[in-house]
Every structure is written in C-alpha cells, then in structure tokens.
Amino acid sequence: MTFVFYLLGFVAIVSSICVVSFKNPIHSALGLVAALFSTAGIYILLNAEFIAVLEVIIYAGAIMVLFLFVLMCLNIRELKMMPQFNILRPIAIVVGAFLLVYIVIIIIQSNFGNFTGVYNEAKIIELGGNAKALGQVLYSRFLLPFEIISILLLVAMIGAITLMKEGLRGK
C-alpha cells in the first residue's frame, strides 16, 4: 500500500512540474489531468472514494474541459519565455525553494494531534461508506456553508455571463 502511495505521489509531483514547465499549453493541460488522476488515487488510499470520484468527474471532467476550450479559443501556439533578464525570476526561485524546504521540514517534524473523532474507519463503514457519511454531515452540520455555496455558484454564473454579454448578442 505504501508503494502505491509513493508511486501515485511521484506521478502527481512529476506531472505538476510538467504543467508549469511545458511550452505547449495543451501539453500542460494533459499534465494537469495526470496530476488530478493521481490525486484521486491518493484519495482512494485514504478511504475517501467519493472525493476521488468527484475529483475525476468535476475536476478532470468539467474543469479541464473548460481549460481546453479556453486554450483553443486563445489559440496559443507556444509560450515564449521573456527574453530580457528580470531580477524577480531568481528571487522567486529562491523564495519558492525556501518555502518548499520550510513546509517539508514542518510536515516531517510537527506532531499533528492524535485525536480520533466520531468518524473513524469502522464508523464510516457502518454508516455505509464515504458518500453516505459525507452526506449526513454535510446537510446537518455544514448546512450554512452549503447554502452559501449555492449562492456562490449563482454569482459565478451571473458574473461570467455579464462579462461575456457582448460576445453573445448579435452572433
């Protein structure tokens, strides 16, 4: 099981690096799909199969399609690096590397609390699986964020259509 985790983690990291370093944006999008699938695999290892399926359906299924449509609309052939030397690029690399080392050391050395809440593995299996347990929590304890999310989706719709109105009429 740890071998599978290391394999999936490795694929996720390598494909994420590919996303930011490929020149052709379509190749970057494919790298992102690979990263999303490996993240979904890691969720399955954590017994969160519903989240894994949602990741594939929504993230790799709808969001990546959106990305690809935008990339096709924009019609970029190949991204070019900025030719002139910008002082910010080495500074950003240094800060990014420092942040990476900082976070890795913290995760290795810190002790996350050993608490087991109500929803341990046996309880979730008794409730009928990850999706059922999630549903029971989501619609009772997290009622308020749930309703606010519906308004959030509505706002995203209204805003996006407002910005694109001129492209719609008269075509």
Binding site: E49, A62, V65, Y139, L153, M157, I161, L168, K171
Partner: protein, 118 residues
C-alpha cells in the same frame, strides 16, 4: 476496503497500456523514411496560407462553463440522494432551496441568450 478498488487500477493500466502499446508498437514496426513533401500538411494539393487552427467560437466556452456549474450542483445532489430517508423533510426543504437558487441562475442564463447557438 481499499483493495476493492484494485480492479479500477488494473482497468486504467490496461486502457493506458493499450493506447501506449498500439502507438509505440506501430511506430517501431513501420518504415520511417521522412521526406519534406511527405511530412507537410495535405490540403487537396492547394498551397497553404495558414495553419489549421481557426477561431473557436466563444459559445463553446460558455456552454462548458455552464456545464461545470451545473455539474457541481449535481455533485452536491448525490450525497443527499443517498441519504434521502435519513435526512427527512428538513433535508428535502434544504435541497429544494439549493435547487431553486440554481434554478434562478438557469433561467438567467436562458433569458440572457447564453444558451443560444447561432
């Protein structure tokens, strides 16, 4: 519990492997003698003046964005549907409020011509 998903992994490996193996094997087995004329794009013999990428209409983008938003709505409906009897009347009212708010969004998209395909 996790081992129950092993068939999914095997299926993915087979699907990926099938695609990769056919392409790689056919690439290795065929003769490869590229010439300049052979590897240029074919356009019924006429000379080319632009590449194949045209302007994709913005309609595709709007439809896929609306698909994304309603897909997320459906994803919220799945866990509710499984727990329908446990959540009872209160859960029903709560999900109806959720759907009504998104229904307003749907009618908004309809009336603002976002769903037109012309």
């Amino acid at each position: 519990m996790v081992l129950e998903y092993l068939p999914v992994l095997i299926l993915m490996v087979f699907a990926l492997g099938f695609a990769v193996v056919t392409i790689v094997m056919s690439d290795m087995l065929r003769p490869n003698k590229p010439e300049k004329v052979k590897s240029s794009t074919y356009e019924c013999g006429a000379p080319l003046f632009t590449d194949a990428r045209g302007m994709v209409s913005i309609r595709f983008f709007i439809i896929s964005m609306l698909f994304l938003l309603f897909d997320i709505e459906a994803a919220f409906l799945y866990p509710w549907a499984i727990n329908y009897n446990v959540l009872g009347l209160f859960g029903f009212v709560e999900i109806v409020i959720f759907i009504i708010i998104l229904l307003v969004g749907y009618f908004y998209a309809w009336r603002k011509d976002a769903l037109e395909w012309e």
